[in-house]
Every structure is written in structure tokens, then in C-alpha cells.
Amino acid sequence: MIKNIKLQLNHQEIELYVHPLKRLLDVLREDCGLLGSKEGCGEGECGACSVFVDGELVNSCLFPVGKAENKQVLTIEGFRDTVRYDVLRESFEEAGAVQCGFCSPGMMMAAEGLLRRHPHPAEQQIREGISGNLCRCTGYNMIIDAVMLASKRGDGLW
């Protein structure tokens, strides 16, 4: 059942030779060597593996690579080269939003997804926007401050 699957990964066309049911997370980590997406639970609860597929935030641990065929996949490795990422990074640093860091790449993707939908989010919208991403260190409020700060500092970017 192994087949050729074409997709766009971080703005580059790639062709994979994999089982279409292989988890996108495993394809990214094992076949593509992109280690920024983390496996925290493997069942879609924690969001540490969050990536965008055609602009939609998904848990790559629940996403078969076959479903990404001919689609655009954006991971933290692609996102981290953007201006919006830089604004988010500075804000996360300043707000103290990172401790152990294991949830952080996924949290950045969730923050990006939220700001795309709501460039000027209210506190409650931020809470909802990152509610699919678990963090056990920070208690979330400093992450919420970071997203708020980014939305102000990056006004016009989203």
C-alpha cells in the first residue's frame, strides 16, 4: 500500500514514498527530519504536534499523510522564517511564556492560527484559541499575555 504522495512542505514541493495512513507527525519527524513538531500524547489531546494543512491547524499525530496529498503543510520549521514568527517569539520571550519548551512549537502554531482568525483577540478568544494545546509548566496566563502582546506589537501583520 506504499505509494507516492506529493505535497508542499514549508513552501517546497516534495514527493514521499510512504504508506498513506502513516501519521503526518511520523512523516515529518522520520522521513523529513523535521523535529520541531513534538509528540506529547499521540492522541490529539495536547497539541504539541500542531501544524497547518492548507491553512487549517491540525494535530499531525492524528492526521494521515495521505490526507495531505497535494496540500500545503506548514510546520514550525517553515513558520520560523517569517516576520510574524519573530513578533511572536519576542512576545513569548518578554512575557515569560516558555518554561520546559516542549509545548512551545505547537503553542506558536496555535497562536499563529488564532491571530489569523482574530488579529486583535480578546482574552477569552486567546483562551479558546490555545485550548487545544496543553502546557503543564506555565498555567497559561503568561502565554495569553504573550499572544496579546504580539497582537499589539504586530498590528497589521495578521
Binding site: 523535529l35 513538531s37 513534538k38 517569539r89 512549537p105 498555567g139 497559561y140 495569553i144
Partner: protein, 714 residues
């Protein structure tokens, strides 16, 4: 540079963490590397009659008890915990063997095809089970301690009020975001273990025993650790020993990573507890006596239960001054997962009991709980439960005052009593607590004997060589700040690298809120020494060893004296809104004041405060883990629920500072303290909303239904 040590500085680990560039154990790659998966017991208690393995394909190995060259016991306090089960299994999930090979899917198939033939034994599933074959010793307890002071029999005769209560707390899973894992390799007779861990030297000692080789042939290197909270204090020693044996047998590096649900089901948790308290109060509402009987559920092997129990027992009287005291405690063996270390280490259980008890006793006597508590709090020069002395001023009255102002406590107490037109009720609760920082009793003096080193290179950069790990709590930054401040050099010239036991001395484990107050102090002293002998461009070193401070005393046989050399303090208030139809509750507000001495970095401190409070709120509310017939009902990340961003409000916190002269810049411990008070304040808030007593956590809607149906209120 000499700057305000509390002013936040940039954490230099953050940029890589955000970008996904940080290398955790699961990100390490090695071409030759094999994977290991664990064959686990499916029975709570049984003899292993036989194991029928399928034929191993070439390059696949079984690694079990017979592959351990040294001792099949994890070196911790007692020597009962095997790396691999021997002739019996004692809990569901206990490791029996590893299957090792190159393809994870093949390994899974081999494990599924393995048949373990069990002869079932009657398991001990509760701390009340009696008459069954003991798991440990003759009495089935790993630890049984008693201590006391004064004359409890006398106060029994003279007390005007006697109040009794029993309090229970449940399991709590650490749920660090990064599951546990190690990689072991064996080269030229030397074992190197990379891992997600808190205590490099605990693991080193465990692997030395496991392999039966000399100390110079074992090296432990910490991989950046994705959260730990105590969960990576004890268990990585077991994983490291197993993986080391596998690497030895396979003659290749072996990676042993747990999956999330395996981690939830099989690794250590916070001890469930049952605490019975009897207090004796005189006509002036002075707490004149207290009896405490503490039982913790230790699970199948001793692990760290003895010291968890001690911390719980020493906290039996909470923040209150009691001159006549009798405390008894037991850690009971059960056929369940080994209970272990988790932020607070016995203290959250004991504080829950005493704070609820004081509240209920006050209500029973018809006095205001806050007044009753404040009347009885310890003051400078009062004695601790073990007869140690509180040497510093305690700011509790001021802290309570401030939290009540911040939260509008008095007004909310009134509001919660007013009838409403909807099915919602509000309530507010307030807790007072302390945490003794550093190892309990003689730990720092007689067992750990921490040693630190600073190494200056010819470019005048100074590396901090300690065995304490960055696991999210920020010591990569705070330790550098301490050294830079003492040396009066820019922080950019101070280096901190994840510890490697071939490079760093043993400054002890990263536990017990000891890293800043104990190790940070040694780093400070070494830095002062280095500064005094500083020669530009010269390669230089400075070292410092722990010295037990003068004037303190501890006797480990009678458990008397100064159990801790310093205490941090906290006051928390929580407000909830309860739906009286569904019994679901929502947290409306959280207010907190802490005295941690001098803050080493206000932003890092706030991160610890927020994170600890939220873990505590989870513990008291939604984090339910029940064991049925030896198996957890909540054994996946779908079933075991931890707080999300939707479950908590903004936390308003402030610091007050009573410095500790033995800490760096007057700092005291922080990490664990932050979890202790919020579960209590939450339970008291629920209690306020329903006007009936809460005696156990987590407070589930089902529990509230029962409590509210009960006629006896407290």
C-alpha cells in the same frame, strides 16, 4: 554585573525552544540506534509461571532479569524495586522485559505475541486491605514513624473543645508534556546514558549497581527535559538501568521512550493519602494539642515513600503553633503503581488536611475560621512540629491581610451568602501554608553533601558545573544570574550546559525546592572565592561544598530538631461559581501572596507561581485518577484531564520578602510551595458556596451531590 537580582533577564533557552530547535531525548538520532519496548505485567499480583516468547528475528533481543550483570534492584531508599520483575509481578504495568530491535512495529508485534503465564495471587488493592500476604516485610508498610512533643494526654484532659476529622486526597499524575525516555550506549566498556531526568547522580548510582561496574565506567548526560515536577526524580533510574542492560546485550545504542499512555499508566504518581486529625482547643480558642495519623498509599515498591511520608508528617500542624503533638505515619504497600515524587512531596496532602480541619473546627466552635487560624499561627521563635525553631519573622498576618484586600474577601464572603435568582452560587476560600526548603532532616548534611565548581577559561568566561538540571524552572538563567552578580561580570560571560556526570561534581538532585537556596548559595560562595583570586586571562577554578549551618540541630532517630533550615510561606484565595443543578464549578478568581525571600528573577518566579497554582487547582478539581482492581480507570491523556487555558482565570500574585541569610541574596525555595495552597483554597471556596464540609479532593460533581445530600454538614 551587579544589578538588581530580581529584575527579569532574557532566558537564553527560549529562542531555540520556540523554534523547535531544542534537542529533547526523542529528537536524538543515531544511525545504529535500536528501539526498546516494554513487556508489562497484566496482573496486579501474580507469580510468573512461565514466559513464552516468539522466535526473535535476527537483530532482535529479549532483555530481562537474567541480562542484568549487577543487582536487579533500583538504588533508592530501600532495596526492593527490581528493574525487571523476578518471579512475581506486583502491579499492572510492571516491567518484565524489554524487546529490542530496529523496527518499532516489529517490536510491538513481538510483544503482542509473547505469552506470560501467571499464577494469580490475591492483590492488596487498598490501604485498608488486611489479612493478605504482605508485599513488604511482615507489616506490609515501607515506613512507620512516630514523633511528638509536649504532653498530649494532659491536653486531652483540659481541652474545652475536641474536634476530629478525616481527610483524603487522590492520585495525581505529573503529566510533564514530554514523556519519559532514555538512550543508553556502551562503548569501550563504558556506559553512557542520555535522558530526560532530574537527578544525574541518582541515575549514575543506580546504573553502577545494575551493571556491577565501577563508577568511572558510567556517565549520565541530561538531555533538555520537557518538564518533570518530581516525576523524573525516581523513575528514570529504572529506565536507565533497563536501557543500559539492553545496550550491553545488543552492543548498540538503545532508545527507550515511553508513549504518553504508557507513561500515565506505569510511572510514579503523587501518593493518595488518608489523614485523621484530632485537635484540642482551650476556652480561649488556643490550639493546645493535635494528634495526626497519616497513611499514604505507596504502591508496590518503596521508592521514595519513606521521605514523602516524613515531609507529610512534619507538615501535620500546617502553619500553626501546637505545643502538644503526637504524629504517626505509615506508608503502606499495595499492588498498584509505585507512588513517588511530585511537586510538594507529601506536603500538599498534609496541608489539605490541616487547613480543612482548622476551618471545620472553627465552624464547629462557632468562631470565625480566619480569626481562629490567625490566632494560632506560628511566630518567630515558636517551635516547629519536630521542635525546630522558626528563626525568621513570619509575614503570614501581613500576607493574609494583603490577600484579603486583593480578593475583596470579606465582601465576597457576604455576597456568597445572599440568595440568587439563578442556579449559581459563589464561594471564596483562603489557605495559609509553608514549605520547608531543601532536603528533609539530615538529607543535605549526611546524604547529599552538595559540591559545586566554577571553571574560568582564558577568555574569562565562567562555567557553572553543577548536577542540577534545567527542566523548565529556569535555573539555566537564575544560576547564571547568581554567578554573574557575585562575580560582577556580564551574564553573557557565564556558561551553563546540561550536566554530564563526567564533567560536573555531585551537587545533588534537582528536587525539594533546594536548587536555588542550597546549590545557588554554593555557586554564590564559589563565585565570591573566584572573584577574590580572579586573574585576567588565567584558567582558574573555584569549588564549594555544603556546610550544615551553625546553630541548627537534627536527630534522625527521634525525628526531632530542625527538619528544615528555612521556610517559604504562602497565602492563596480562590473564588468559584458553582452550578447547583450540574454541580460543575468554574474558577472565577485566584489571588496569591508568597514570601520566598529575595526573588532571583521576578518573571521566572511568576512562571513558577502561575504553573504551581494551576497544577494545584487541577489536583483539587478535575485531575481524577481512580484505581479499580489494580488498574487505573483514567489511563490515557483523553481520560486523565489536566487544566487547559479555558479552565483558569488570571492569577493575581504578589511577593513579600523575609530574606533567609543562608540563601543566595536572601533567596528561599519556591518551586513546590506554589502548588500547596491552591487546592485548599479551591476546596474551601466550594465549601463556602455549598455551605457544607469538603473532606476530600479532587472535588468532583459526584462528590458534591453526596456532600449536599448529607445532613451532617462538617
Amino acid at each position: 554585573m551587579k544589578t538588581d537580582i530580581s529584575a527579569p533577564v532574557k532566558r537564553d533557552d527560549v529562542a531555540d525552544k520556540l523554534a523547535g530547535l531544542t534537542c529533547y531525548i526523542g529528537d536524538m538520532r543515531n544511525e545504529d540506534m535500536l528501539y526498546a519496548k516494554t513487556l508489562r505485567s497484566k496482573e496486579a499480583r501474580a507469580k510468573i509461571a512461565s514466559i513464552e516468547y516468539p522466535v526473535m528475528p535476527e537483530g532482535y533481543f529479549i532483555v530481562g532479569k537474567n541480562d542484568i550483570p549487577g543487582r536487579n534492584r533500583v538504588k533508592l531508599l530501600l532495596e526492593d524495586w527490581p528493574f525487571f520483575a523476578e518471579d512475581v509481578v506486583n502491579y499492572i504495568g510492571e516491567p518484565i522485559a524489554l524487546i529490542v530491535g530496529s523496527d518499532k512495529a516489529v517490536i510491538q508485534e513481538l510483544i503482542a505475541a509473547t505469552k506470560v503465564i501467571y499464577q494469580k495471587l490475591e492483590p492488596i488493592l487498598s490501604i485498608d486491605d488486611s489479612g493478605l500476604l504482605p508485599i513488604y516485610g511482615e507489616t506490609n508498610s515501607f515506613a512507620d514513624y512516630s514523633f511528638g512533643k509536649g504532653d498530649i494526654d494532659k491536653v486531652k484532659r483540659i481541652a474545652k473543645y475536641i474536634y476530629e476529622g478525616t481527610y483524603e486526597t487522590g492520585y495525581q499524575e505529573q503529566f510533564y508534556l514530554e514523556p519519559q525516555g532514555v538512550i543508553a550506549e556502551f562503548k569501550e566498556g563504558k556506559a553512557t546514558i542520555y535522558g530526560s531526568l532530574q537527578c544525574p547522580y541518582y541515575i549514575k548510582n543506580a546504573v553502577i549497581d545494575c551493571l556491577g561496574i565501577s563508577s568511572d565506567r558510567v556517565r549520565i548526560v541530561q538531555a533538555t527535559t520537557g518538564g518533570a515536577f518530581g516525576g523524573k526524580e525516581d523513575y528514570p533510574s529504572l529506565l536507565a538501568g533497563q536501557a543500559a542492560c539492553a545496550a550491553l546485550k545488543a552492543n548498540k545504542p538503545v532508545c527507550l521512550l515511553l508513549e504518553r499512555n504508557e507513561d500515565i499508566e506505569c510511572t510514579t504518581k503523587r501518593h493518595p493519602s488518608r489523614i485523621r486529625l484530632t485537635s484540642y482547643v482551650d476556652e480561649g480558642f488556643k490550639l493546645i494539642g493535635l494528634e495526626a495519623d497519616i497513611v499514604i498509599d505507596a504502591g508496590a515498591y518503596a521508592g521514595l515513600s519513606g521521605v514523602v511520608l516524613q515531609r507529610a508528617m512534619f507538615a501535620a500542624a500546617g502553619v500553626y503553633n501546637v505545643e502538644n503533638l503526637r504524629v504517626h505515619g505509615k506508608a503502606i504497600a499495595t499492588n498498584k503503581v509505585v507512588s513517588g515524587a511530585f511537586r510538594g512531596f507529601g506536603s500538599p496532602q498534609a496541608f489539605f488536611a490541616i487547613e480543612m480541619h482548622m476551618e471545620h473546627a472553627a465552624k464547629e466552635m462557632g468562631v470565625d475560621p480566619m480569626e481562629f487560624k490567625l490566632q494560632n499561627v506560628v511566630k518567630k521563635w515558636d517551635k516547629s512540629t519536630t521542635g525546630g525553631i522558626f528563626r525568621d519573622k513570619n509575614l503570614l498576618p501581613e500576607m493574609v491581610q494583603r490577600v484579603t484586600e486583593m480578593s475583596g474577601f470579606a465582601e465576597k464572603k457576604q455576597t456568597s451568602k445572599k440568595p440568587r435568582n439563578d442556579n449559581k452560587r459563589r464561594g471564596i476560600g483562603l489557605s495559609m501554608f509553608l514549605h520547608g526548603c531543601g532536603f528533609t532532616g539530615n538529607g543535605e548534611r549526611d546524604h547529599i553533601k552538595a559540591h559545586v565548581k566554577l571553571a574560568k577559561n582564558s577568555r574569562d568566561e565562567v562555567e557553572i558545573l553543577i548536577s542540577n538540571v534545567e527542566m523548565g524552572q529556569g535555573i539555566n538563567t537564575t544560576m547564571k544570574k547568581i554567578a554573574a552578580n557575585a562575580l560582577e561580570i556580564p551574564i553573557e560571560r557565564v556558561i551553563f550546559i546540561n550536566p554530564d556526570t563526567d564533567r560536573v561534581p555531585d551537587s545533588g538532585p534537582t528536587v525539594a525546592s533546594r536548587t536555588i537556596v542550597v546549590v545557588g548559595r554554593l555557586v554564590y560562595e564559589a563565585a565570591i572565592e573566584l572573584k577574590e583570586k580572579w586573574q585576567v586571562g588565567a584558567v582558574q577554578e573555584a569549588e564549594c561544598s555544603y556546610q550544615y549551618p551553625e546553630g541548627y540541630e537534627w536527630d534522625n532517630d527521634s525525628l526531632s530538631g530542625d527538619a528544615y533550615t528555612n521556610y517559604s510561606w504562602g497565602v492563596n484565595a480562590v473564588e468559584v461559581e458553582l452550578d447547583t443543578l450540574t454541580f460543575e464549578s468554574k474558577i472565577i478568581g485566584v489571588w496569591a501572596v508568597f514570601d520566598i525571600g529575595k526573588s532571583i528573577d521576578d518573571r521566572i518566579v511568576k512562571g513558577q507561581i502561575d504553573g504551581g497554582i494551576v497544577q494545584g487547582l487541577g489536583y483539587a478539581s478535575m485531575e481524577v485518577m481512580e484505581n479499580q482492581q489494580g488498574r487505573f480507570k483514567q489511563r490515557s491523556s483523553t481520560d486523565y484531564i489536566i487544566p487547559t487555558a479555558m479552565d483558569i482565570p488570571i492569577i493575581q500574585s504578589e511577593l513579600m520578602c523575609q530574606p533567609y541569610s543562608g540563601g543566595p541574596f536572601g533567596a528561599k525555595g519556591l518551586g513546590e510551595l506554589t502548588l500547596v495552597g491552591s487546592p485548599i483554597a479551591y476546596a474551601l471556596a466550594i465549601e463556602d458556596a455549598i455551605d457544607a464540609g469538603i473532606n476530600s479532593i479532587p472535588v468532583r460533581p459526584e462528590l458534591l451531590m453526596e456532600v449536599m445530600a448529607d445532613d451532617k454538614k462538617y
